[in-house]
Point group: C2
Chain length 195, copies 2
DNA sequence: AGGCTCCATTAGACCGGTCGTCTATGGATG
DNA sequence: CATCCATAGACGACCGGTCTAATGGAGCCT
């Protein structure tokens, strides 16, 4: 009862690494399983189809992400504005990291998956809503505690900043450069001004 | 000398339509050529490889896009701010259009291509720089002619807005909804305020 | 006009990979 | 020893990008 979860999560972990580099369609079952050192027969014991595996991959990623986000945005020793900026610093670092598996799957897979799998799209979409909701809440807190100026509706602001970071990550990835992410970081500081 | 270009551009046109839906890896040569009604053997007469075809596809798209952008941002009967807003209205419409082939290939392909083909990445990246440069120039004009308030550096503002639209397009595509794009439209009006 | 060359174009073979299925075997548990 | 979850990996049918060998028609020479 332990072993089976080992195998399953080994597939998922390896899958995340490969998928973060080569995309969903780009990673075939053979490649994935060979890399994970798991025989093909096992795959269909744990997953009903490649799409089901894709959904599991995304679900797990979004769950973990949400936990880390929660922790990061709930840090007790910082004010809301600092917590927000720290989160985005973390985003930048991850996106530039040599560990490809750290990169955000929303950035990597959204476009590919949108017209491919309704189920996978839904998972991504729900994850995105969650993230934006968290950001909105933090901005609200900042406005209430007075570390963020109330010049804008928190929800609108959160969406805007999140969208900007997604786009900046896209541009950073095609230009193999940190410039777009640095520019997003600067913009974020301006958009979320200290009073 | 005519026929060969016919065939070539037929491949490219069909390719754009299919790729806008299914991505680069997602469209195989057989599918593409069958759809275009062109025999498989011909492909390598017109393109050295699938990557070369991908580059041609992207180059052509970016060139056309740049032309339309130029026209749109140079419209004589509007002030700079209106031209800018009209461009983004156009973006929204295209992204929501039932004609899938109208959708922006920067949105669709950036993530997929970034770790796949250096050449294709470069074409996208150059295209993006061009677009941002155009937007920057228009914002500058607006600030000079007094239709856009000078509260921000034009270049920074242009990047920020463009990134936001890329991200919003991504979110719109996974949620199969116009909400993210509408939100981006609203945000754009706020970010580029009339004085 | 007839023959010939040349080269753009194409047919289709090629090999390796794709996803998914299925049977046969392990090995632990009761 | 019987049961059953988990593993093993062969297999099918099909699709991936690439390349070589053949076709056919336009243009030139005699």
């Amino acid at each position: 009862m332990e072993h089976q979860n080992d195998t399953r999560s080994r597939i998922l972990t390896t899958g995340r690494r490969l998928t973060a580099q080569q995309g969903y369609t780009g990673v075939g079952l053979s490649t994935l399983l060979k890399e994970a050192g798991i025989p093909k027969g096992s795959f269909y014991h744990y997953f009903a189809s490649k799409e089901a595996y894709g959904c599991a991959l995304l679900s797990e990623f979004m769950t973990e992400y949400s936990h880390r986000l929660n922790a990061s945005l709930a840090h007790p020793d910082m004010n809301a504005r600092s917590r927000l900026l720290t989160y985005f610093e973390g985003w930048r670092e991850k996106q530039l990291s040599p560990h490809l598996e750290d990169r955000c799957l929303v950035v990597k897979l959204s476009a590919e998956v949108a017209d491919l799998s309704e189920n996978m799209s839904n998972i991504l979409q729900k994850g995105v809503s969650d993230i934006v909701a968290h950001l909105t809440k933090t901005i609200e807190q900042g406005q209430n505690e007075g570390t963020i100026a109330s010049i804008e509706n928190p929800q609108t602001l959160a969406e805007m900043i999140y969208h900007m970071w997604l786009g900046a990550s896209l541009v950073a990835s095609i230009s193999h450069s940190a410039a777009a992410l640095n520019s997003a970081m600067d913009a974020t500081k301006v958009l979320v001004p200290a009073p």
